[in-house]
Structure formats: structure tokens, C-alpha cells
């Protein structure tokens, strides 16, 4: 319990020649929710995408420094990136369902992981959709196109898809930015429920949301980690003036 799930030390990140993360060091605790906040362009997405090495596919992008998950180096020579990404799920800022049916979207991760019996599949798909608060809306049309869903439904579908492979860590990059208040509440309840089993890192621009769902909050600015602490402390009595200005909306 005391060992951090994710340990980051002196992590820098570059897109080509431009350095966008500067010496990030932080511990992300196991089975808790850590919120990343900070102004647009400060490097939150870049940082979460570094944890599951999503940035590998961007040409000329590279990170230096250390990121450990359960003590093992994510950027180690012998790291199996595919296996890593199966353990570290991700929900993106923009929903990105596949041009398949609702069912096949959720089942995709299972299929590429070797599948399972038809019944197992159906069970996992239903459970994942339920957890993502989408089941009631789609249970009668599981085999119609995912593109026919609304934007908010598509985002919940992407959450269900990520949950179906049962990752240990869930990275969520502004998962609720396209959702209405009701769906947002559902997602927040989901996060609350999930944290007993998963380690969750969530990027959000919504201060109330960060305050509601997270245990720890990290404040980023211009590629640097300004402050990290218990969410309550960060919002009530932050150490840094910058943090206080940002969380109270007096920023800039």
C-alpha cells in the first residue's frame, strides 16, 4: 500500500527540439485517484501519454528520465510495450470509437488479447457497459454502429472499452469534457467505485471535479510540476501562491 504504483523521477519530454516537460518527479499512489490540473498546453496530456508510452508513435518525440510502474522501468530496454498498454488503460480527450458495432467496440481489447467464449465475452461487455453507465441506453442495439451514438455516449463507450480489458491503471484525459452534467456525475461515481481496484490518473480542467473525485492533486504549469499534495490541502491551503491563484480562478 505504501509503495507508489507509479514512480516518476526527473522526467523530461521533447517534441523534436522543444522541451515540454521539465524534470517531473512525482509518486502516484496505488488504488487512489490522482488529478492533474493546470492551464491548457502545460503538458498534462503529454505526461499521461508518457505513462503508457503512447507518445512512442509520435515521430521525433522522446522522453528521458525514469517512470516506474510497480518498480519496473516503463522505458526499460526489455519492456514489452504491448503488454504495458494492456495493463495501463487510457481514455482520450476526444472519443474515438472504432467503426464497428457497440458490442465489437467493447469486445475489441478482449479479442486481440485472445478472446474467450461467447458467453464470457457477452458478460464482460455487459459488465463494462454497465460500469460506464451506458448499458441501459444501448442494451437493445448492441449490434448497431457505434457512430450512431451521441458524443457523450461515444465517450462512455470508450470508457467501457478501456474497462473491458481490466487494466490496473486507468489514465483519463479529460474524459468528461464532452459530457452533460448527468453523464458526468455517472462517470464521477464510476471513478469513485473503480478506485478500490484501480489506480486512476485523471486530467481535468474542472476544479470542482478534481476536488470531488481525487485523493491527490498535481498542479502543472508550463511543463513543470508546481505542487503535488492531498486534494483537500491543495484546494484549501496550498503551499504555492500559483496553485492558490489557479484553483481559486484568479489565474492570469
Amino acid at each position: 500500500m505504501n509503495e507508489p504504483k507509479i514512480h516518476v523521477k526527473d522526467f523530461d519530454f521533447f517534441y523534436g527540439a522543444s522541451k515540454v516537460l521539465h524534470g517531473i518527479s512525482m509518486d502516484i499512489p496505488d488504488r487512489q485517484v490522482t488529478a492533474l490540473i493546470g492551464p491548457s498546453g502545460c503538458g498534462k496530456s503529454t505526461f499521461v501519454r508518457s505513462i503508457n508510452r503512447m507518445n512512442d508513435i509520435i515521430p521525433d518525440a522522446r522522453g528521458t528520465g525514469t517512470i516506474l510502474i510497480d518498480g519496473k522501468n516503463v522505458y526499460g530496454r526489455d519492456t514489452d510495450v504491448v503488454a504495458l498498454r494492456r495493463r495501463v488503460g487510457m481514455v482520450f480527450q476526444k472519443s474515438n470509437p472504432f467503426p464497428k458495432s457497440i458490442f465489437e467496440n467493447v469486445a475489441y481489447g478482449l479479442r486481440i488479447n485472445g478472446g474467450g467464449s461467447k458467453r464470457e465475452m457477452a458478460e464482460i461487455v455487459e459488465r463494462s457497459l454497465r460500469r460506464a453507465a451506458l448499458w441501459e441506453e444501448v442494451k437493445d442495439r448492441l449490434h448497431s454502429s457505434a457512430f450512431a451514438l451521441s458524443g457523450g455516449q461515444q465517450q462512455r463507450l470508450c470508457i467501457a472499452r478501456a474497462l473491458a480489458v481490466d487494466p490496473e491503471i486507468l489514465l483519463m484525459d479529460e474524459p468528461a469534457s464532452a459530457l452533460d452534467p448527468i453523464a458526468t456525475t455517472k462517470i464521477e461515481e464510476l471513478i469513485y467505485e473503480l478506485k478500490s481496484n484501480y489506480t486512476i490518473v485523471i486530467v481535468t480542467h474542472n476544479m470542482q471535479q478534481a476536488a470531488r473525485v481525487s485523493d491527490k492533486t498535481a498542479f502543472f504549469m508550463m511543463g513543470r510540476l508546481v505542487e503535488l499534495g492531498d486534494t483537500k490541502t491543495m484546494f484549501m491551503t496550498p503551499k504555492e501562491k500559483m496553485t492558490e491563484d489557479y484553483v481559486t480562478g484568479r489565474f492570469g
Partner: protein
């Protein structure tokens, strides 16, 4: 004030582009009309029997287009079968696998292939491909020759040579359209796959699935190109109108018979019959092209 200007601009633009589109449509209709007018004698004499007739005998005035239709469709279909995996492979390699520095040169190279004149392909076919095909035919075991697919004397010229040359000619077109389709697949699709633990190959399959309709369209465009190709095919197919399933048999295509016999067509009916073949080819290619364009455009389906 501003808005009125804007909408007037907009209207002018709409009318302009609309007029051009209408003009193109008019030209197409005009061609169809003229082809019909010039083939009235044959249409009147043979009716729909022209589609089904198998004899082509200018001396006795007996004209049937089926062997040519067959030769055209068969060669184009074979070319499609041969070229599709290679063309898609090239597209996937260039857009998904190759190092970025290689991308531009490879693209340029495949596009260069498309710029080679048909006659040059034909010459290459006559001097390189046909002898090679003949060697292959000579090596075919006797027992295989009983199968309809391999019947016939080892001439070199024939359906196989035609299909091969068509395949080579079609690959640049299909692969460049398929590459364009893949390039337009949003990177978020690949990211979604990778984030679920997909391998590179699995992510490529997602991209191909996303661009499915566009890629089918690319293949159909290649098919349309193969249907109309004349010069190179004429030089290697053997120019013998017969309904044969054999890869080794010399056959004939619609475009080839028009090119070869147009200047010899002495009597009116002969000429009209040839032009009617042109009309059939025109109709078939328009249909194929229309379907493929629609498919390339509608990228998003599920």
C-alpha cells in the same frame, strides 16, 4: 453589408461550379448519345442479342459481343486479383511501416510507374513478359493441362500475359488511392487500438477497417482502369475472340477489337457493331467508376 457580399460571392461560386459540373455531365451524355447514334444499325439488327452473341464474323455480317465482354471482364478481374494484395501492401508499407525519410521517394516512384505510356508497357510485355509466360506454360505438367484453367498450346500470348501486364499497370493507381485513404484515417483510431494493447499489425488492421470503403473504391478504380486499357493488352492477349476460361488461351477485349478493326471496317454494319462495343464499354466503365467514386468519398461507415 458584409453578409450580403458574402452570400453573393457564395452564389457566384455555386453557379460557377454548378455550370462546370453540368458541362461535364453534358459531355458524358453527348458521348453516350453519339455512340448510340453511330451504332443504330447494329442495335436495330441484333437488339439485346448483341450482348449474348458469340460469333464475330465480318464477312457474313454476324456480330456478337460476348467473347469481347468476357475477355475484358475476365482479364480485368484477374488483374484485380493479382494487383490488389500488392497494391494494398505497398500502400500499407508506405503509410504505416516505412521510415519517414523513405516515404516521399517511394510515393514518387509508384507515381512514376503510373506515368509510363501504355505502349511502353506493351513493348515490355512483348519482349519480356510473353517469353516468360511461354516458359511457364512449357513447364506446366501435362496433368494440369486437363484442367480448363490451363488448357491450350504454349503460345505465351494470351489471358495470363494480359492479366499480368494489366496488374502491373493498375498497381500504381490502386496503391496511391489506398495510401491517400490510409493517410486520412485519423490517428486517434490507431491510438485507440494501441492503448488497448494492439500490436502494430492490429493497429494497421484498424486503420484498414476504418478506410474500408475507400479502399474498396481504390480497387474498383483500378478495375475501371483495367477495363479500358487498350494498347498494352492488344499487344499481348493474342486477339482471338473466344469464350475460354483458360489462362493460356489467346483471347480478345472490347477495347482491343475496336483499336484493331476500326480502320478495316468496310461496311456500315461492321462499323456500327464496333461502335456498339464501344458503347457497351462506355456503359460498363461509367458504372464501375461511379460506384468506386461514391465509395472513395464515403469514408465513414460502420
Amino acid at each position: 453589408m458584409n453578409t450580403t457580399f458574402k452570400s453573393r460571392d457564395d452564389r457566384g461560386f455555386r453557379i460557377g461550379t454548378g455550370a462546370i459540373a453540368a458541362l461535364v455531365l453534358l459531355v458524358v451524355l453527348g458521348i453516350g448519345f453519339e455512340l448510340t447514334r453511330q451504332s443504330l444499325l447494329s442495335i436495330a439488327k441484333f437488339g439485346f442479342g448483341f450482348w449474348k452473341g458469340t460469333t464475330w464474323d465480318p464477312v457474313s455480317g454476324e456480330f456478337g459481343a460476348l467473347p469481347f465482354i468476357w475477355g475484358t471482364l475476365y482479364s480485368a478481374l484477374l488483374a484485380l486479383l493479382l494487383s490488389t494484395p500488392i497494391a494494398i501492401g505497398i500502400a500499407v508499407f508506405i503509410s504505416e511501416l516505412s521510415p519517414r525519410a523513405l516515404r516521399q521517394p517511394l510515393t514518387y516512384l509508384t507515381e512514376l510507374l503510373a506515368a509510363i505510356p501504355s505502349i511502353v508497357y506493351g513493348l515490355w510485355g512483348v519482349f519480356v513478359l510473353v517469353p516468360a509466360v511461354r516458359k511457364l506454360e512449357l513447364m506446366t505438367p501435362e496433368s494440369w493441362k486437363k484442367i480448363p484453367l490451363f488448357k491450350g498450346p504454349p503460345l505465351g500470348v494470351g489471358m495470363l500475359a494480359a492479366a499480368l501486364i494489366l496488374a502491373v499497370m493498375v498497381i500504381p493507381l490502386t496503391s496511391s488511392v489506398a495510401r491517400e485513404v490510409l493517410k486520412n484515417v485519423p490517428s486517434t483510431q490507431r491510438e485507440a487500438a494501441y492503448a488497448l494493447g494492439a500490436t502494430r499489425w492490429e493497429a494497421i488492421r484498424i486503420a484498414l477497417g476504418f478506410g474500408r470503403t475507400g479502399i474498396i473504391g481504390a480497387i474498383m478504380l483500378g478495375f475501371g482502369r483495367a477495363l479500358g486499357e487498350t494498347m498494352a493488352v492488344t499487344m499481348v492477349i493474342g486477339n482471338n475472340p473466344q469464350l475460354s476460361a483458360s489462362l493460356f488461351a489467346p483471347q480478345y477485349t472490347m477495347a482491343a477489337v475496336i483499336a484493331n478493326e476500326f480502320s478495316e471496317a468496310a461496311d456500315e454494319l461492321y462499323l456500327h457493331a464496333l461502335i456498339e462495343i464501344g458503347l457497351l464499354l462506355f456503359i460498363i466503365t461509367i458504372i464501375v467508376n461511379l460506384i468506386s467514386r461514391v465509395m472513395v468519398r464515403s469514408r465513414r461507415t460502420a
